[in-house]
């Protein structure tokens, strides 16, 4: 494949390890785009590395026999732990050099990245640029700028109880961390956590998603080429490789994906008391009030649905809630925004990602073709299995018990639920699992306040969609079924740090009250001290002097 470009062959020795793992891993994945995989697996043979060749040769001809097993994962972790214990990753210089390398890598390989994303998802270039490349770049830039500040111990107040003393909170790296990423934003959702992990001074294993194989393999190659191979490693693969990784002891696991696998990851982490960050999804609702600038609201909904990886985004709009009498107007505006943006025949538009693979394509078709649902289509509905495309589709008043209202849609279908009073929508949202995001379009201040106060979700945007993730001063993460823990900006640094409490005392300030034997006088004094009553303290002190 043309995609296997010169970069790899220029640095065969530097990236052999991770590529080997990847090449093998792919064999175990789904059957989708089989020819592609064969290509990928066979190219490594030309790499003059015994390690690599062994791994590949033994499996190329066979069915599903992952060479990357628990033993190999253990060796990998061991190596990284050695690096971590040497203190290498802890230095400011190392962190900066690695972040700079990511920045450089993204600058130099922009075209390849866009190409891989196109291959995996037909992702439009501007979308790829904005949501993948730029996200990573700005995360890097911010971390490079702020890192010194983030790393600085934070002074903490001390109280009378330990007087005289001083205290600080020291951020220390957790150790060796595992990042398991996903396929919908396969580049940024892989590297954004890596940036946090590096900034915090950890050794990192990244397991990109096998469902976006072009990006996965590119990541492996680029990280092999640009990053410190003794501390930042990519392991490609699917279930078998991930299981092998999950059997190891990590100091943190950061997982982006679905709730089902999230549970498996957390259960595996429990065995080693490993803390987890789980970035999951959910059904993100958008409430649309009738007093809004309908053109802008519609455009922003379109932007948060079909312009956002064609709905395949964890914070994409999943469904809309609006007032019954407003629904026709809203539909009209949405349709005209869709047509304005994607043209009269959206199926022909190159501006939308395709559905990732045939599995998800049929999953979506199943949602769409359910009996009580298919008749509710008011716009769109066209599909093309060969191109894995489904047109932007709007459905009105689908029943609550339909599949499409029970599971996360993660695709270009947009149901609109109507309610009598918009206020009812809060309870409706809260009856479901807490989503990763909730959106409200309204000009009513009271409504906004109530929305923020009453609706439980990972994050929210008022009068827009998805933009909350571009603000690094806001934590990005779910709650309940949409996940736990958060990242972005300094929160990423914190997610991969332990906040170590440090209290400094001198040998002065010694009070005998603290020690046994506990005489009645001492008890009186301590109680007075602790109740903070100055008068009593004086009395007790006096009492103590003649104790």
């Amino acid at each position: 494949m043309a995609f296997v470009s010169a970069g790899l062959f220029k640095h065969p020795t530097r990236c052999y390890r991770s590529t080997s793992i990847i090449g093998v891993g792919l064999l175990g994945t789904s059957t989708y785009r089989h020819d592609y995989k064969i290509n990928r697996v066979s190219f490594p043979n030309s790499i003059p590395s015994s390690y690599y060749c062994c791994a590949t040769l033994s499996t190329t001809m066979e069915e599903v026999k992952p060479a990357f097993d628990a033993d190999e994962a253990a060796i990998l972790v061991n190596g990284l732990r050695k690096t971590f214990n040497s203190g290498k990753t802890k230095s400011y210089e190392w962190r900066i050099s690695q972040l700079e390398s990511i920045s450089k890598m993204v600058d130099e390989k922009e075209k390849e990245i866009i190409k891989a994303l196109h291959e995996d998802l037909s992702k439009p270039e501007l979308e790829a640029y904005l949501s993948e490349i730029l996200m990573v770049k700005s995360s890097c830039t911010l971390a490079l700028k702020e890192l010194k500040q983030w790393m600085m111990p934070k002074k903490a107040e001390t109280s009378l109880a330990t007087y005289p003393s001083s205290a600080e909170i020291v951020s220390e790296p957790l150790g060796v961390v595992l990042i398991i990423s996903t396929w919908n934003f396969p580049f940024s959702l892989s590297l954004d956590p890596v940036i946090g992990a590096i900034a915090a001074g950890n050794a990192v294993v990244l397991k990109p998603s096998e469902i976006a194989p072009a990006t996965s393999s590119l990541l492996s190659r680029l990280i092999g080429e640009y990053m410190d191979q003794s501390a930042v490693i990519v392991v490609e693969g699917a279930v078998a490789e991930t299981s092998a990784l999950l059997e190891q002891k990590w100091d943190k696991i950061f997982f982006t994906g679905g709730a089902r696998v999230g549970r498996i990851v957390m259960a595996a982490a429990a065995k080693n008391l490993t803390p987890v960050t789980l970035e999951l999804g959910g059904k993100c609702p958008a409430i649309v009030d009738s007093n809004v600038n309908l053109q802008i609201a519609s455009r922003r909904i379109v932007a948060g649905k079909w312009v956002c990886n064609n709905g395949q985004a964890c914070i994409g709009v999943d469904y809309i809630i609006t007032a019954k009498e407003f629904a026709p107007k809203l539909i009209e505006a949405l349709v005209s925004a869709v047509e304005e943006i994607f043209g009269k025949d959206p199926m022909e538009s190159k501006e939308r990602s395709r559905i990732i693979n045939s599995f998800h394509f049929s999953r979506l078709i199943k949602l769409l073709d359910e009996d009580k649902v298919s008749e509710k289509i008011v716009f769109g509905g066209q599909r093309d299995g060969s191109q894995l495309q489904i047109a932007p589709t709007i459905l009105l008043d689908v029943p609550e018990d339909s599949l499409i209202m029970q599971e996360e849609i993660f695709g270009p279908l947009l149901p609109i639920i109507t309610v009598e009073r918009l206020e009812d929508s809060f309870a409706m949202i809260n009856r479901k699992s807490k989503p990763l995001a909730a959106y409200l379009f309204s000009d009513d201040e009271q409504m906004k306040r109530e929305f923020v106060h009453n609706v439980y979700a990972g994050g929210m945007a008022i009068n827009d969609t998805i933009l909350q993730v571009t603000v690094p001063s806001l934590p990005f993460g779910g709650v309940g079924e949409s996940g736990m823990g958060s990242y972005h900006g300094k929160f990423s640094f914190d997610a991969f740090s332990h906040k170590k409490a440090v209290l400094y005392r001198s040998f002065a300030g010694e009070s005998p009250t603290r020690y046994p034997p506990y005489t009645p006088g001492k008890q009186k004094q301590i109680k007075a001290l602790l109740s903070g009553n100055i008068f009593k303290i004086i009395l007790a002190l006096l009492g103590w002097f003649k104790d």
């Binding site: 214990n85 270039e125 501007l126 979308e127 640029y129 904005l130 730029l134 700005s138 903490a156 107040e157 001390t158 109280s159 109880a161 003393s165 498996i264 259960a267 429990a270 065995k271 008391l273 999951l280 809004v292 802008i296 312009v307 943006i341 994607f342 043209g343 501006e351 939308r352 923020v452 439980y456 979700a457 994050g459 929210m460 945007a461 009068n463 827009d464 933009l467 909350q468 603000v471 806001l474 934590p475 709650v479 996940g483 823990g485 332990h498 170590k500 409490a501 440090v502 209290l503 400094y504 040998f507 010694e510 020690y515 046994p516 034997p517 506990y518 008890q523 301590i526 109680k527 602790l530």
Partner: protein, 491 residues
Amino acid sequence: MGIEVEKKAGFDTESAKEVVKELRASFVAGKTKTYEWRRTQLTAMLKMMDENEPQIVAALTDDLSKPELESSIYEIAMLKNSCKLALKEMKHWMMPKKAKTSLTSFPSSAEIVSDPLGVVLIISAWNYPFLLSLDPVVGAIAAGNAIVLKPSEISPSTASLLAKLVKKYLDCSCIKVVEGAVPETTALLEQKWDKIMYTGNGRIARIVMAAAAKHLTPVVLELGGKSPVIVDSGINLQVATRRIIAGKWGCNNGQACISPDYIITTKDYALELVDSFKCELERFYGKNPLESKDLSRIVNSNHFARLLKLLDEDKVSSKIVYGGERDETNLKIAPTILLDVPQDSLIMNEEIFGPLLPIIMIDKVEDSFDLINYSGAKPLAAYLFTNNKKLKEKFVEKVSAGGLVVNDTTVHLAEPSLPFGGVGESGMGAYHGKFSFDTFSHKKAVLYRSFAGDAAVRYPPYTAGKLRLMRALLGGSIMGIIRALLGWSKP
């Protein structure tokens, strides 16, 4: 009413489900979310402690023969401080925190809103059965949650007192105590919670977290570990010794998760240190420490036997340089110091959690850092006594632990400005002060925009001009932006 059902031996999954259901209804009704409710509950808790101090002290005596002063300070006063701090700061804590916004979402404003998580489970421990039960409850209330507290069955008097007092003073429709042991805890763990906070040991913590994983419930695990004390030479030895004693035997007779577990010192300083211990220990606890009223007893015969097993191991018992006396009927073990026990002994491989204190000797004090980090299990606390500034810096840089104290032991616990929690084997998550509030809150990111500031560049069709503009905008180059804008206006 609920309490009666819960107290029956037959507290099973069904009863647990009922409890959660009732609490969830209260939570969904929004009852716990108001500032008023939170304030009332915390005030009631303060009142409960003021009015029942003798009962609390008596229960602690019953469970642990805990000296009154220790109970007053570490259990009651600490908790009162928590309540008072929360009452004072809660309004401030609850306030949404403004966040800066960037060019990408211009014009906009942003804030971080602290939402309660919902219905939370707090499983507590027996060593500070009052404090470790209610301190997390303070955080959970402050953050606006409905709560089930499961106190430890190993300190039954305190557990039943807690059940009685909580029912009497706090809002029963939102805060419940479930007493019980393994079956009750198991029944509770099968339910879906919005947070589980567990204080105890690593073995049970794994079970708790695995149970939590089924419902994607976040956990705080407050565990323990072998917390070391490094003692450098050239220090004020008397003060250092006293502070170690206060953190070891003065903290529930060593049965505290942040108690010094063992000491590391240099070969040439060890004897001096041992002498100082002998002298101070005798001053504090008298010639016959088994008789002292100022030492808690060992909580039960299981733990008594466990400790004796550590002490009576062949290669260990010969190392006793002070103490070693035991009184099985009263479950007392004297403060015991062991010098130079082998690294492969039991006592050096599990958390001691009792009045035994081994001293490990090394050649150079700097070697202690590697010794601590060697096991890979990060302790909940680590302590260093020194006057050497360089050594302090190295200690803070190199030793990984939940928290550190230089020139004292255990007192970091009393600083609400410091997060209290472990890392690795010593746990995850932290609490105390505002950290308690945060632990039981979800930080909800909220971005506000108006309908102004809508740029066509954001939407397809993606012309070359738009792409140029976007790159320039986001690259932050003013010239680039101008050029792109010009170019874009004539695509």
